[in-house]
């Protein structure tokens, strides 16, 4: 039951649907040079003639799709940011001098504060978008309108968090 619900939910992810439809394009199997024309002729004419739009800039993403993509991007940002967090974690706990090094960097270093603000912003967005996922898992806001409203709320709340994080860091 949980599996069916998960798959059902996955099938409604707007950004994944694009990938899904991309994967439904005709597959050209690799083969020896002599066999090439034979394989080609096996492809149904309708799919061979189907127009393919590869100009991504002409595709309008709906808001929930943008939130979903941003959730992935912020996750990758947090993974890269782990190296900075681990550094701060180790050095701040190594000695009083190490603690002051991290404190000074957070208080005065431009690069350190930029990284900190970026990571707090990514964490804020990833957190809010993740909570939205959990709320949708419980069956709320799963309609087309609900998805739109949830995406709008995610952007508004996380924008507030990004500004608050900036005020905190600077």
């Amino acid at each position: 039951m949980a599996a069916r619900r998960a798959i059902h939910r996955l099938s409604r992810r707007p950004d994944l649907m694009i990938i899904e439809s991309y994967q439904k394009l005709p597959v050209v199997y690799s083969c020896g040079p002599g066999e090439k024309s034979a394989v080609k002729s096996q492809r149904p004419l309708s799919t061979a003639k189907r127009p393919v739009n590869l100009d991504l800039s002409s595709i309008q993403f709906p808001l929930p799709a943008l939130v979903s993509i941003s959730h992935r991007v912020s996750g990758i940002m947090l993974f890269i940011g782990l190296i900075f967090l681990m550094w701060a974690f180790q050095v701040s706990l190594s000695s009083p001098a190490g603690f002051n090094t991290v404190r000074e960097a957070m208080a005065h270093g431009f690069f350190a504060r930029l990284v900190l603000w970026g990571l707090l912003s990514a964490l804020g967005f990833h957190f809010v978008a993740g909570v939205r996922h959990l709320i949708m898992d419980m069956g709320h806001g799963e309609t087309l309108e609900g998805g739109q409203r949830g995406a709008q709320l995610t952007i508004i709340i996380s924008a507030l968090l990004v500004v608050m994080a900036g005020v905190w860091v600077w």
């Binding site: 949980a2 599996a3 998960a6 798959i7 996955l10 994944l16 990938i19 992935r72 996750g75 990758i76 947090l78 993974f79 782990l82 681990m86 974690f89 180790q90 701040s92 706990l93 190594s94 000695s95 009083p96 603690f99 002051n100 404190r103 964490l123 957190f127 993740g130 909570v131 996922h133 959990l134 898992d137 905190w168």
Partner: protein, 115 residues
Amino acid sequence: MVINILNPGRNGVADWMIQRASAVILGLYSIFMVAYLLFNPDLDYAAWSGLFSHIWMKVFTLLALLSVAAHAWVGLWIVATDYIKPAAIRFGALLFVILALFVFVVWGVQVIWGV
């Protein structure tokens, strides 16, 4: 179902569950750390190392560290299999991810129990 050499013995339902359980732990840990730092603006080394000398904080931090590894692995596996089509590059990227996460866990354990 996608069969991948870097995803042995797992399936989408396990991933789905791991992702949510680790997300809850990481959410709680994030709220705790942000709240602690917000309410202690004049933090010094004694208080900071004192916090991590408690056994509950060591356990909580280790739990968060393992959750980061699991959560990042599931998330980046999905992203890699969606966007990196050449198998060799995808394999290399996922190998890098799992090595990095392994290093972070060992490194973190050393820091937690070094306090």
